[in-house]
Symmetry: C2
Subunit: 312 residues, 2 copies
């Protein structure tokens, strides 16, 4: 039986592994099918992880994490976990995609979230090189430049307002004729001199070169309009990767909110004892590497106490 | 008027400054009388800040933070803030020790906590070089070695149990004849083969050399006993540095718990709009650099939203 099973190998899972093993737990396995590092690996530039002052790619920044986090005995099993279930004695069962399973005394889940794509041409090709889904992360790279925002919900509008304080101009492109956002937010958008709203409009294609995006073609009611913005921010929804918590009967192992985010306390505890949720999948996640890493440490520290109290 | 005033220059305050300024806020000042970096600056070794794989001193690790966090316009005012008060319009007043004051639209407090000293000879001299107040931070450096724990409350006993999974032996030294801790915890201590309890005993003096601690003299009912442990962990209480929140009438600006920790939500919001608490001073703080930094980022991101909503 594992002392702690960690599901997900992003900053949260890696840090949880570092803290759980360095804190004396012996049987700790991180389940991550791919290369550890998480969503930030797709980012071409990161400069806001404190303590790493050099601007570098997400992949370069994360390169040192797996060795550091595995130094104290963390094991990495390269397999997808399909489901976590609760055993009768309060321990957990980890159901793996190959049909085998493993028991764990506690589980720290950090499977992240997946921002939805808008579905225009070259979107994936330029993702992380001009196409972004995070204004906090990437907005500053477009300081005093023009950017395009795609979306019409609360997040899109709030992020457009956020970007307007950094960028010289924000084009806000929405496919419908009105916004599905809080009236006060909509009012702030229309009152904002730096935001130009393009309603009934859809992005067709981003274009660019080896340096990244140089512009985007938009279908508008008046024909194609080309916006020569080097930054394109997409806010058309976010899927929480909570599938591992889904039970055979369709219910979830622990409490989620209406957006599918896992409800946690300050120690990243869910409502099920011994089960933790960390990083971008949890309620109110700031969606930053340093925050996900902090979550992983907090969860592991609590999981160690839980282990000491009940297992020793 | 400041957009955000940051009180404290540890990992939480520095990261809050990085995120607030990089997020487009113009007038952001961090108030910290001394050198920024926080309590970790006293630590001789840190190896669990993810992304910084080299084992180094706290001072060396923090050396790059001030420049990185100030790169986007964060100002540093080297003065002690005595008190934060609420203005009638919901903004805040920062009262400085020189008698001047400054208004701020929102405030992020990260003034930390101060572990109490036990009061034995050479305690300060060897602090960070064998004398520690954090088992999560420093326990691993004594893997398969003997350590001494000073204290008799819940924290001391829980940390002694924690250390017993890493270390070969733990001496638990307490000045009274019984422990002031939960009965189940006391029972686990007495059942633990690796913990030797010394009651009615006080530490007199640690001794060592340039390499750090080599042992400690303990006054016991049977005379002086010398424990040749290179690690001495002190858990005799922790003072939350919440003085800046104390008002002229003795009340506090926001809700605290019975230990003096500031009650916050997952966004580090206190019960007063625009006022945030971060790092070791807040409820359930894991007291780790990465967690404090995550708090600073979370608070700053929320403070930017708060600013956009109410100020623009």
């Amino acid at each position: 039986m594992l002392d702690v099973a960690i599901i997900g190998g992003g900053p949260a899972g890696l840090t949880a592994g570092l803290y759980a093993t360095r804190g004396g737990l012996k049987a700790v396995t991180m389940f991550e099918r791919g290369m550890p590092g998480g969503q930030i690996m797709n980012s071409s530039e990161i400069e806001n992880y404190p303590g790493v002052p050099t601007v570098m790619s997400g992949m370069d920044m994360m390169a040192v994490w797996p060795e550091q986090c595995s130094r104290f005995g963390l094991k990495h099993e390269m397999i997808t976990v399909e489901r976590i279930s609760l055993n009768n004695d309060g321990t957990f069962k980890i159901h793996k995609e190959d049909g085998t399973n493993e028991d764990a005394f506690s589980v720290i889940v950090g499977t992240g979230s997946t921002p939805r794509r808008a579905g225009f041409k070259n979107e994936d090709k330029f993702f992380g090189r001009g196409v972004s889904t995070c204004a906090t992360c990437d907005g500053f790279f477009y300081k005093n430049k023009e950017v395009t925002v795609i979306g019409g919900g609360d997040t899109a509008l709030e992020e457009a307002i956020y970007l307007s304080t950094i960028c010289s101009k924000v084009y806000l492109v929405h496919r419908r004729d009105n916004f599905r956002a809080a009236p006060s937010t909509v009012e702030r958008v229309f009152k904002n001199d730096k935001i130009e709203v393009l309603l009934n409009s859809r992005p067709d294609e981003v274009f660019g070169d080896d340096m990244g995006v140089s512009g985007i073609h938009i279908s508008t009611p008046n024909g194609i309009r080309t916006l020569n913005t080097t930054g394109v921010f997409i806010f058309v929804g976010n899927d929480i990767n909570n599938a591992v918590l889904k039970q055979a009967d369709g219910s979830f192992l622990c409490n989620l909110n209406e957006s599918g985010e896992v409800i946690v306390d300050l120690n990243m505890r869910t409502n099920i004892k011994g089960l933790y949720a960390t990083g971008d999948m949890r309620l109110d996640a700031p969606k930053q590497v340093v925050c996900a890493a902090g979550d992983g440490a907090a969860a592991a520290i609590d999981a160690i106490s839980y282990f000491m109290e009940h297992k020793n």
